[in-house]
Symmetry: C2
Subunit: 240 residues, 2 copies
């Protein structure tokens, strides 16, 4: 079912979703808040933009032009509706393209920031069986994997441009090693904990193309308080 | 000046220190509490034991035999006094040896757990100039570095034996990559924050020799509350 929801009440933004496929997640909100944006930043790319939560939120933080790339036609159409409803067509372009073909569209070494909330899971038999299913494509590395994202970032980012991704902590080591191998130097990591006790279940990583070594582990962020409500940190992201 | 202090009130333990050289740090207390100990564990080694805070605290958690290795004669003598004052000579052996020579003393593949609070800083001109200074040896990788520790762990740990180290977050990536290269699979990481806001300044890492992949990011730990007092989490380590 296609619905138009408040983007968690985020600064009056609306987002169009099809609840049969998937809904945008808090992960995208966290990443869009985590990424550092400079006043001088002009050009941003969001890889695998889905129904465009990251471009929508970034538009509240910057005047930069934002390009959201989405391979799935039906999802791309939802994203376009969201941009249109929010009257953000001047700032945000949604493009229906395989991100791996991005260098046919844009100049290399031209982006200040690339963001991505990519599929978290490696391909398994189940994801291959359902490889054309919207959920599988969003969740499993069927159409794009972490190497693709790093290859694109290495090619398309300006020198010292920023890559921001959200991922699962169990893939931390692999991702750090691969970032180094693509010359995207990890600079800041934030771990997200669903609650005060227990392990982190999300991580946010920012890397700098050809950046100097020097990693910082940012303060942790808790999503829910002991009563199961969003914490003040999360609420503040929604302007509450 | 040589003094005998309470080990932060820890279960009535005393520790002998020379305040001209260095004092044992909270880092060692955190590591000794972080490390997982099984009932079946029989043999533990602490590399660069200093005045033996880690063996002393571990002795409150296990009946396993603990060997503390210390290269510096004067520091080794302090550690021996500490063990003697606490009447722990049966459980804890302090040995004055270069840890790199450890395979001349013990069987390989024989230890259940190896711990280390190693020097945090790479060698620089200043550390080389003062390379025989007790503080330099404790703080800079003059006599032992992270590669040495991983080489020793790979050689001396049983299969699936545990290495626990405390280090600085800025060296996270290097340490994770090197652990993998020595077949010490990183399993658990805990980041320590001096206070609620701000970055982590200490990390605790546990790896398993020839272990399976699967990293967990444990709940963060804060050292001080907003009034500058130890948090309840830290106090509870001292039995308060």
């Amino acid at each position: 079912m296609e619905v138009s929801n408040d983007l968690l009440g985020y600064k009056d933004l609306k987002i169009v979703q099809n609840t049969d496929w998937f809904s945008f997640s808090l992960d995208s909100v966290l990443l869009a808040n985590f990424i550092k944006i400079k006043k001088s930043d002009k050009l941003i790319m969001d890889l695998g933009t889905g129904n465009a939560p990251i471009p929508l939120i970034l538009s509240t933080r910057t005047k930069a032009k934002i390009h959201g790339l989405e391979i799935q036609k039906e999802v791309f159409e939802l994203a376009q509706k969201s941009i249109s409803i929010n009257k953000l067509c001047d700032q945000i372009d949604i493009i229906n393209i395989d991100a791996n073909d991005v260098s046919s569209l844009y100049e290399t070494d031209s982006f200040d920031i690339i963001t991505s909330n990519p599929p978290y899971f490696k391909i398994n038999n189940n994801s291959l069986r359902n490889s054309n299913d919207q959920k599988s494509i969003a969740r499993h590395e069927v159409k794009i994997n972490i190497d693709d994202i790093l290859r694109i970032a290495k090619k398309m980012l300006k020198n010292n441009g920023i890559l921001g991704i959200v991922h699962r902590p169990e893939r931390l080591i692999e991702i750090l090693i691969k970032m180094k191998s693509y010359n995207i130097e990890p600079k800041r990591i934030q771990f997200i904990y669903p609650k005060k006790s227990g392990e982190a279940n999300i991580m946010l990583i920012e890397g700098s193309k050809n950046g100097n070594e020097g990693l910082k582990i940012m303060p942790p962020l808790y999503v829910y308080d002991s009563e199961g409500n969003y914490t003040d940190d999360v609420k503040s992201m929604f302007g509450e």
